[in-house]
Symmetry: C2
């Protein structure tokens, strides 16, 4: 087994319960680390540099882009948001499975740069249940709910790019499922390259009777 | 979740312990069915038609080939061996996960015809351990052992075609691992096509506010 961690991308519909799931997963198992994004937006009250985000300015962010320092980045409402490569690689090398919670465009960028990354898509059991959860929040107008469902409809077109679909019906069950999918992913050849290389070399040697 | 079972192909080095693993897996869980091969070779004492093999003659086997009745087949020592499609599809439709224990050439034929099949490769923890097991049997000459290791060396070139590599170090642990890999595979988009289609259609409808 390689000692390097797995780069895990988690996406899912707004209302699928990703935030709660991540929190529970990190509380339950100690092999995970959550990636911290870098942003040019100003810190809100209570936000600490290096905890919620790495805060920086536009010039530094663009310098970082030019140095290929991001795993993925995007600009949103005149601010940059990105996943710094250095922090993620440091955690992976320390054997941590690093979770990025990002949207599909970012997920596809990650898969292209890191083919051995694991893409997970979280969904409620049905569209009806997603709507129920959005309505149940009671904080959003009918119009905003329709917009979110319309957004979800667009996002659903990209599901095939993900390695696994996880249905979040019950928090505890779903956390266990996520954890076992990560463990399954460790057995894929793309993440066992060192083992494969080693056994191939040994078999070549042994079949010559050179032991 | 689709109700159809998964077509599982298990390959591995001679000496990896596949036979014992399959037996234990089938004893432990009731979602599996073992595929029965068809052959033109004569039944040996104690072998029953429809249990160890489906026994048939050359003309019938070739008729079956011409009707595309095999998932995969090969000829070996003047006899045909093949996996009849009808039996496997019947079991899959009944919700059983059907296991084919075949070699890499057959495995690749299966993956081509059934892209949603799951290919598992069983290996001992190291080449040294494989050699130790082959020597430990005490039934084979040094020459035969070298031939088997040489065959394993060739087979190892195809490992990347498999979905997962399973290290068989401890029987009980390995059975659990196989079982959890099959369950992980149920969450891959290629095996959730009905769920994806359904949620897409619903989301499209709901985002119009048509509920």
């Amino acid at each position: 087994m390689n000692n390097k961690g797995i780069l895990i991308v988690i996406s899912g519909f707004s209302g699928a319960g990703k935030g709660t799931l991540m929190k529970k997963l990190l509380q339950t198992y100690d092999n995970y680390a959550l990636s911290i994004s870098m942003t040019t937006r100003k810190p809100r009250e209570g936000e600490r540099d290096g905890v919620e985000y790495f805060f920086t300015d536009k010039a530094q962010f663009e310098q970082h882009i030019s140095e290929d320092g991001f795993i993925e980045y995007a600009s949103y409402c005149d601010n940059y948001y990105g996943t710094p490569k250095a922090y993620v690689e440091e955690q992976l090398n320390a054997g941590k499975d690093v979770i990025l919670e990002i949207e599909i465009q970012g997920a596809l960028q990650v898969k292209e740069k890191f083919p051995e990354s694991l893409l997970l898509f979280v969904t409620p059991p049905s569209a009806k249940e997603l709507e129920r959860r959005l309505v149940g929040r009671g904080t959003e107008s009918e119009e905003v709910i329709r917009k979110r469902l319309s957004r979800a409809s667009e996002e659903s077109e990209g599901i095939e790019a993900y390695d696994y679909i996880v249905v979040n019906d019950n928090l505890e069950v779903c956390v266990e499922e996520l954890h076992s999918l990560v463990n399954a992913a460790r057995r894929a050849p793309i993440r066992r390259d060192e083992f494969i290389k080693e056994i191939r070399e040994e078999l070549k040697e042994f079949s010559k009777g050179a032991n």
